[in-house]
C-alpha cells in the first residue's frame, strides 16, 4: 500500500531523515515510535505530500507522490486523512463545519446530507450535541475526537495520526486508543500512528517501527519489539535515561 524508499530530508543543514525506508501493508496499523523531534511528524507530512523530500520516493498504491504535480496530488490526498497533534481544527468554523469541511469543499451535497454525515462521523467518535460549538470551547481530548471525525468524514483509505494521545489525561488517552482500534476494525483503513507513548503503541499497533537518527532501526509486532535484543530499542521502550541513546541524540 505505502512504500517509502531512501527518504532524505534536511532543514538548514540539520539532517532529519537519512535514507529512511519503510513499507506499510494494506489494512495494517503501523505505529512509528521515536523520541520527540526525531522526525516522526516530518515523515507523516512527507506521506501526505505537504513536504517534498530532498531525495527518495514514496509510493502510494504504486504511484510515486514525490514525482507528480501538485494538481495530481489532490486525488491522492483524497484517499488520505491526517489527524494533527493539536487537532488543527479551523478556528473560524463550527465543529459541524469543520467535520463536514471536505464534503462541502469537494462534493455537491445538500446541507441536510452533509449534516447527516457529520452527525454520523461525530457519533462514531462518541461525541454528540457539539455540532454548533466553536473549537475554542472544546477540551483537548474533544478536539482530537473532532479531528478524527473530520478525518473519517473523508472516507479515507489511509488515516495518519500524529501523536493522538499526547496532551490528554490517561483515561482520555485510553479512550482514544480504543477509538483508533475500533475505527480500524470497522472502516478497514490502513493506519499510521506516530507516537512516543508506548502504552498506546502496544494497544493499537499491528506492527511497530522505531525511528532513530533518520532511519528505521527496528520493526516487528508488538511482542517482537517488547522482547527486543536491540539495546537502543530496549532503552526507548522501557524509558531509561541511561543506555546507548544520549540526551542529545534524536
Amino acid at each position: 500500500m505505502i512504500r517509502i524508499e531512501g527518504l532524505c530530508k534536511s532543514f538548514n543543514s540539520l539532517k532529519v531523515l537519512d535514507g529512511l525506508s519503510l513499507e506499510i501493508k494494506e489494512g495494517e496499523t503501523k505505529v512509528i515510535i521515536g523520541r520527540s523531534g526525531c522526525g516522526k511528524s516530518v515523515l507523516l507530512k512527507h506521506i501526505v505530500g505537504i513536504i517534498k523530500p530532498d531525495k527518495g520516493s514514496i509510493f502510494i498504491e504504486d504511484k510515486d507522490i514525490t514525482k507528480i504535480k501538485e494538481s495530481q496530488l489532490k486525488s491522492v490526498r483524497m484517499k488520505m486523512a491526517m489527524v494533527f497533534q493539536g487537532g488543527a481544527l479551523f478556528d473560524s468554523l463550527t465543529v459541524a463545519e469543520n467535520v463536514g469541511f471536505v464534503l462541502r469543499e469537494h462534493y455537491h451535497f445538500s446541507d441536510k446530507e452533509i449534516l447527516e454525515a457529520v452527525k454520523e462521523a461525530l457519533s462514531m467518535v462518541e461525541l454528540d450535541g457539539v455540532e454548533e460549538f466553536m473549537p475554542v470551547q472544546l477540551s483537548g481530548g474533544m478536539k482530537k475526537r473532532v479531528a478524527i471525525a473530520r478525518a473519517i468524514c473523508m472516507r479515507p483509505k489511509i488515516i495518519l495520526y500524529d501523536e493522538p494521545t499526547t496532551g490528554v489525561d490517561p483515561i482520555t488517552a485510553d479512550s482514544i486508543n480504543t477509538l483508533i482500534r475500533n475505527l480500524h476494525d470497522r472502516l478497514k483503513v490502513t493506519s499510521i500512528v506516530v507516537t512516543h507513548d508506548m502504552k498506546s503503541a502496544y494497544r493499537i499497533a499491528d506492527r511497530i517501527a522505531m525511528l532513530y537518527k533518520g532511519r528505521i532501526i527496528a520493526e516487528g509486532t508488538p511482542e517482537e519489539i517488547q522482547n527486543t535484543s536491540d539495546a537502543i530499542v530496549y532503552q526507548f521502550i522501557n524509558g531509561l535515561s541511561w543506555g546507548p541513546i544520549k540526551k542529545e541524540d534524536l
Binding site: 505537504i50 488520505m80 486523512a81 494533527f84 497533534q85 481544527l89 479551523f90 469543499e105 473523508m154
Partner: protein
C-alpha cells in the same frame, strides 16, 4: 579587513534576502491571480473578508480623512490668506485629497488594521497546523485563504477611497465655510471645477493596486510565519512595515507615471 569582509558578507546576505523577497512575492502574486480565475469561487468568504476590510474600516477611515481635510485647509489658509487668494484653498484641498491623500491614507489605515489582522490570523493558522490540515484535506490554502482576501482587499480599497475623498473634502469645506467665511456655493463650484475625471480615476486605480499590495504582502509574511506566538508577532510587524513601504513607493511610481509621463 576582517570587519570589511564582514560588512560585505552582510550586505550580500541582505541583497540575497531582498531577491528572495521579490521572488517570493512575485510567485505569490502570480499564483493568486491564477487561482482567482480558477473554480471553485468562494463567494461567501469574499463577502466576509469584504466586510472586515471595507465595512469595518469605514469609521476610522472617515475620521482620519476628515482630519486630513481640516488640516489641509488650515495649512493652506495660512499661506493663501497672505497672498489674498483664499479661493485656491478649495482646489488645493480637493486635488491633494483626491489625487494623493485619500488613496494613501486609506491604504495605510487598511494595511495597519486589516492587513495586520490577516497576517496574524493566517500566521496562527500556520503555527497550529491548520494550513497543513487544509492541504491534507486537498484544499489549496492559496485558494482558500489568500484569494478571498486578495479580491476583497482589491475591491474594497477603491470603495473606501471614494468615502475618504468625499469626507476629506467635507473637512476642507467645514473650515472654509465656517471659519474663513467663503461662500458654500463658491467652495463647491471651485472644487468641482478644479477636479478632473482623470484625478478621480487615477486615485481609484492607485487604491486598487494598494489593495493588492496589502493582501499579498500580509499573506506573504503570514505564510512565512514560524516559531510560535512570537513568530506571529514578528510576521505581523514585518507585514505592516513592508506594506507601508511598498504602498508609498508604489504611490511615488504611480504619481510619476500619471503626472509626468502621461500628463
Amino acid at each position: 579587513m576582517k570587519s570589511c569582509l564582514y560588512f560585505l558578507n552582510k550586505l550580500g546576505n541582505r541583497f540575497l534576502a531582498l531577491l528572495y523577497f521579490i521572488g517570493g512575492l512575485a510567485d505569490l502574486t502570480l499564483h493568486t491571480i491564477f487561482f482567482t480565475f480558477y473554480p471553485p469561487f468562494k463567494k461567501r468568504a469574499i463577502l466576509e473578508q469584504a466586510e472586515r476590510i471595507g465595512y469595518k474600516s469605514l469609521p476610522i477611515v472617515s475620521l482620519l480623512a476628515l482630519f486630513i481635510g481640516v488640516i489641509l485647509a488650515l495649512q493652506t489658509a495660512v499661506l493663501m490668506q497672505r497672498l489674498g487668494s483664499e479661493m485656491y484653498i478649495a482646489s488645493i484641498v480637493a486635488l491633494s485629497v483626491v489625487r494623493e491623500l485619500g488613496p494613501v491614507i486609506t491604504a495605510l489605515i487598511v494595511a495597519g488594521r486589516a492587513g495586520a489582522a490577516m497576517t496574524a490570523e493566517i500566521g496562527s493558522m500556520i503555527i497550529t497546523e491548520q494550513v497543513d490540515a487544509l492541504r491534507t484535506l486537498a484544499v489549496n490554502p492559496l485558494q482558500y485563504l489568500v484569494v478571498p482576501r486578495f479580491l476583497a482587499s482589491m475591491l474594497m480599497l477603491p470603495i473606501l477611497t471614494i468615502y475618504a475623498n468625499v469626507i476629506g473634502i467635507v473637512g476642507g469645506y467645514l473650515i472654509c465655510v465656517y471659519k474663513l467665511y467663503i461662500s458654500s456655493n463658491m467652495y463647491i463650484s471651485i472644487t468641482l471645477e478644479a477636479l478632473k475625471f482623470k484625478d478621480i480615476f487615477t486615485g481609484l486605480v492607485k487604491s486598487l493596486f494598494f489593495g493588492m499590495i496589502i493582501a499579498l504582502v500580509s499573506c506573504f509574511y503570514a505564510f512565512k510565519t514560524e516559531g510560535g506566538a512570537e513568530g506571529v508577532g514578528r510576521a505581523t510587524r514585518s507585514s505592516v512595515v513592508v506594506s507601508f513601504v511598498l504602498i508609498l513607493s508604489a504611490d511615488c511610481l504611480f504619481t510619476s507615471i500619471f503626472y509626468f509621463i502621461f500628463p
